[in-house]
């Protein structure tokens, strides 16, 4: 191995390592409270490790005169163990991401069964110096694939395909926009290393599997992050930023058949001041729950927390009659929740809405203003009564 060639390998592997380090730091910093972030970071770290192992093995290959073949035996064993472990950890991450942090007994069992192949595979790799199944190294430190090298591809690809197909199947069942995006991201992320592996198989000179896997980690990071950017942590509804983006998008359509609804909790300040912020938070969660109970299954609606004690909903309904029905249902589900809860307060809402009219309205502010005024008039009425 000449020095100039080695510097090329260094260049190929250093960029993905750099990118993974940036991803790890960011994931550690931003997703500290999410359980699955540790799994994400560990997949990143393993890919870094395998890239380093890869680099080191290139350094020793064919250098039997200078270094003992033992170095290459050890590196090869580490490399192939990591190779399987990454597939397994990747699958685990995708599995938790799709099913949530708390698994049912059945889901737990599936995960346990999925661990069997990796255990067997690692046992085979450890036995390889004796059996020469996966790979072997001759006395001149030349590297050869073993007779059963195909096992490695089957295990790796198996986990990869599983972690791509699972979210793809799940996609249809998900209701929340953000969850759909996340499933898409996971499925897409599984395709890339697959493409990389195939190209690498066709053209031996290109090293693509791990760089492409790195790109996949970035895709997973982004889809992970998107759920965080647009969700309000307290209520799980869309947050104000996402609402504003969505409104911008609606405003630029010519379609007039949509409404903006504003919801405000009556006397929220009083609840907050009397019972403390923690109780206030629970009140907000109750309203979010009522909104979900009424409209959650309707994929045409966009539920959001606008800020403080205000909520906003964008509805794609045809006429005012429908809207009156929605308001009635909202009040019913909230009063149901009121009856069920042990809290000392009874929640009441002021609700106002406005229809988009592209002849009269130009910007998001226009419709916000009308809906806000409607809500405020409603609030005055309840105060007088």
């Amino acid at each position: 191995m000449t020095a100039i060639n080695y510097s090329y390998y260094l260049q190929i592997d250093t960029l993905p390592i750099l990118l993974l380090v940036i991803l790890c730091i960011n994931a550690k910093r931003n997703f500290r409270n999410l359980k699955n972030s540790d799994r994400f970071v560990s997949v990143c770290l393993m890919i870094i490790l395998i890239l380093v192992t890869d680099l080191l093995s290139w350094y020793f290959i064919g250098e039997g005169d200078r270094f003992s073949p033992m170095c290459l035996w050890n590196l090869g064993t580490i490399y192939y163990m990591l190779d399987g472990a990454i597939g397994w950890a990747w699958f685990g991450y995708a599995y938790y991401q799709v099913h949530g942090d708390f698994l049912t007994d059945k889901e737990q069992r599936v995960l346990t069964i999925a661990t069997i192949p990796i255990v067997l595979y690692i046992a085979i790799v450890i036995g390889t110096p004796m059996t020469h199944w996966i790979f072997y190294v001759d006395e001149k430190s030349r590297f050869f694939r073993g007779n059963l090298h195909v096992i490695q591809s089957i295990v790796g690809l198996g986990y990869l395909v599983a972690s791509g197909v699972m979210p793809a199947l799940r996609y249809k069942k998900e209701e929340l926009f953000e969850r759909k995006v996340m499933c898409q991201g996971l499925a897409l992320a599984a395709i890339l290393p697959f493409v990389g592996a195939v190209i690498q198989l066709l053209n031996y000179n290109l090293i693509l599997l791990w760089p492409f896997s790195t790109i996949s980690m970035f895709i997973m990071y982004i889809s992970f992050q998107r759920t965080k950017i647009s969700v309000d942590p307290l209520t799980g509804l869309n947050n104000r930023g996402r609402l504003e983006t969505y409104l911008q998008y609606k405003v630029h359509t010519v379609n007039d058949d949509w409404f903006l609804m504003f919801i405000d909790i009556d006397h929220f300040k009083k609840i907050n001041d009397t019972f403390g912020h923690t109780t206030g938070d629970r009140a907000l969660q109750m309203v979010a729950e009522a909104m979900r109970a009424t409209l959650g299954t309707d994929s045409d609606c966009m539920l959001s927390r606008y800020g403080g004690d205000e909520f906003a909903i964008v509805l794609n309904h045809k006429n005012e009659m429908d809207m009156k029905e929605v308001v009635r249902q909202l009040r019913t589900s909230l009063s149901n929740l009121n009856d069920m809860s042990d809290e000392l307060f009874k929640l009441q809402l002021s609700i106002g809405y406005a229809r988009w009219n592209h002849n009269k309205m130009k910007t998001v502010e226009d419709i916000l203003k009308v809906a806000d005024t409607e809500m405020y008039l409603q609030k005055l009425k309840t105060r007088i009564v």
Binding site: Q11, I22, N33, L206, I215, Y249
Partner: protein, 378 residues
């Protein structure tokens, strides 16, 4: 073999760039800043592409003809100047931090001049062989004006660095200062790498540019994820995880709580839009006046703000509170509004008894804040 490896190094950053571009393209609303960032990504991708073509054709007598080598190099030179020009364009948008930023025609013309001059000379090269020429065996050779594209590049790069340095010096808000510094560093790194590549023939210039673009993107995303959309302060979510981290580190600190007075009144009398303005003003006031010392400021909820600071003892903690309130009175005098901004404030010192009970610490500060509020009502 050597040529293959050259592609191999480039494939990874190229796929990365495509992905970055697509992610931004998928956003429903793209600001002009987003668009100018996308332009850099596209031009950078073209640079990779033309670089590969040039290396592939250079001296490759089986495939290349001199005219193809000429064409490849012309594209390469044009794209490389374009890259630093679009970078400067992005930097200028960034420094002005405004969607409504419009450049006057004169400035636009001045900006284009170095680019146009180097394009003209590069395109004329097959005729007059000034910038470069191609030998009969399809090899690239420098002409007498070979420095022209490099000088054009340097002009843009220096302009970008200076614009950022100026913006950094003028900026008051600490978080924006930090972000400007990030852009400055990511502007300088590719330049260093270009010099390094010229000296060693290690292909780092373009790949590192791609990594820097990636870093800028990540930094911008982080800001969005940890900050409150309205005020730009840290949000409650990030505050909570920051507090947990601090408690793990066992360092002494003080938690301040600030609750705006009569915010409901501002909202009800002047409307929600004005309420938002009031919140933004308070946020900016806190950023500027607390940013001078070591402080972590966040919007805790509706009209409540929190800050973490590190005074030596209770006496200094109290002085910080008094001076902040005095500053707010002065700040009100500069605002031309019918209502005045004020907040009630309280603080609590973190000690062992609060370990792993962040909620308790906030409550303790809240008690002092409520006393302050009650005192005002009487």
């Amino acid at each position: 073999m050597e040529k293959y490896i050259h592609y191999d190094i480039y494939i990874f950053p190229m796929v990365l760039l495509l992905l970055l571009w697509a992610i931004i393209q998928l956003k429903k609303i793209r600001t002009s800043l987003d668009r100018s960032f996308q332009t850099i990504i596209a031009v950078c991708f073209l640079s990779f592409f033309s670089d590969i073509i040039c290396v592939f054709l250079d001296g490759n007598l089986e495939i290349a003809v001199p005219s193809a080598v000429y064409l490849g190099n012309i594209i390469y030179f044009i794209v490389s100047v374009m890259l630093s020009m679009t970078w400067l364009n992005y930097v200028l948008y960034y420094c002005h931090d405004s969607i409504h930023y419009h450049r006057t025609k004169t400035i636009r013309n001045i900006m284009l001049t170095p680019f146009i001059i180097s394009v003209i000379f590069t395109i004329l090269s097959p005729v007059n062989q000034q910038v470069f020429y191609v030998t009969a065996d399809c090899m690239y050779s420098r002409g007498p004006l070979f420095w022209l594209p490099y000088v054009a590049n340097t002009i843009y790069q220096v302009a970008a660095i200076l614009a950022l340095a100026q913006a950094y010096a003028l900026e008051e808000l600490p978080d924006r200062k930090r972000r400007i510094l990030v852009i400055e560093i990511t502007t300088i790194i590719p330049i260093i790498c270009t010099v390094f590549q010229a000296m060693t023939h290690v292909w780092v210039a373009l790949p590192m540019t791609a990594i820097c673009l990636f870093y800028i993107y990540m930094d911008e995303q982080n800001r969005q994820i940890t900050s409150d959309a309205l005020t730009g302060l840290n949000n409650k979510d990030y505050f909570n995880s920051y507090l947990k981290r601090l408690m793990d580190e066992k360092e002494d600190f003080y938690l301040y709580v600030m609750d705006m007075d009569r915010f409901k009144m501002i909202n009800d009398t002047y409307g929600h839009a004005e309420g938002d303005v009031a919140l933004k003003n308070v946020a900016n006031f806190l950023k500027i006046h607390l940013g001078r010392r070591r402080a972590f400021i966040a919007r805790y909820g509706g009209d409540e703000f929190v800050a973490i600071m590190y005074p030596q003892d209770d006496k200094e903690a109290y002085e910080i509170m008094l001076s902040l309130k005095a500053d707010l009175v002065r700040y009100n005098a500069t605002r031309d509004k019918e209502y005045e901004l004020s907040f009630s404030m309280g603080f609590a010192k973190y000690d062992e008894s609060f370990a792993h009970k962040p909620r308790k610490l906030v409550d303790a500060a809240d008690i002092m804040m409520y006393k302050d509020k009650e005192g005002k009502k009487r």
